[in-house]
Symmetry: C2
Subunit: 95 residues, 2 copies
């Protein structure tokens, strides 16, 4: 059984899950929802971005700069495969 | 969401799942079933043993030494809690 390290890391697993469920989301919303520090979240999102799992957009909303993140098709696929692996492991417990 | 590092590590997650499903199992069976090296498996089992998640037994079977591992009650509980956390994450995806 393969566990993709990019997805399996605990904080990133929650980032993938949040973006998978909510779609494009502001950085500030992720910080609050996942209860992580900004620095920790930034470094994980950079890792995800460098692996082309997320795309970042910077824009002005009501004249204020806002950074949003969204899973790429590749990121969606990586996450769906990982959930399938976890479900296989869990389903296998009942023997 | 808390992910217990002892359980969440990919190889250990599969060791927990295998012992949870099959009960007490020989080391050699784990090596084959999980497709890991003996050294890698030994080090993870030592980590699990030091956290009282497994107990090891050494005995002679047909005059040959055999080492078996079994989840402790604590190990079972840690694993069940972790599966519950994973299920909560997965169930939350459908919004």
């Amino acid at each position: 059984m393969e566990f993709d390290k990019l997805v399996h890391q605990p904080t990133r697993l929650q980032i993938f899950a949040y973006l998978y469920r909510h779609g494009r989301s502001p950085f500030t919303e992720l910080v609050t929802a996942l209860d992580v520090t900004e620095g920790n979240l930034s470094s994980h999102l950079q890792t995800m971005e460098s692996e082309r799992a997320v795309v970042v957009e910077k824009e002005f909303v009501d004249r204020k700069p806002q950074t949003t993140y969204e899973l790429t098709d590749e990121g969606n696929e990586l996450f769906e495969d990982h959930v399938e692996t976890l479900e296989t492991l869990i389903d296998g417990l009942d023997g």
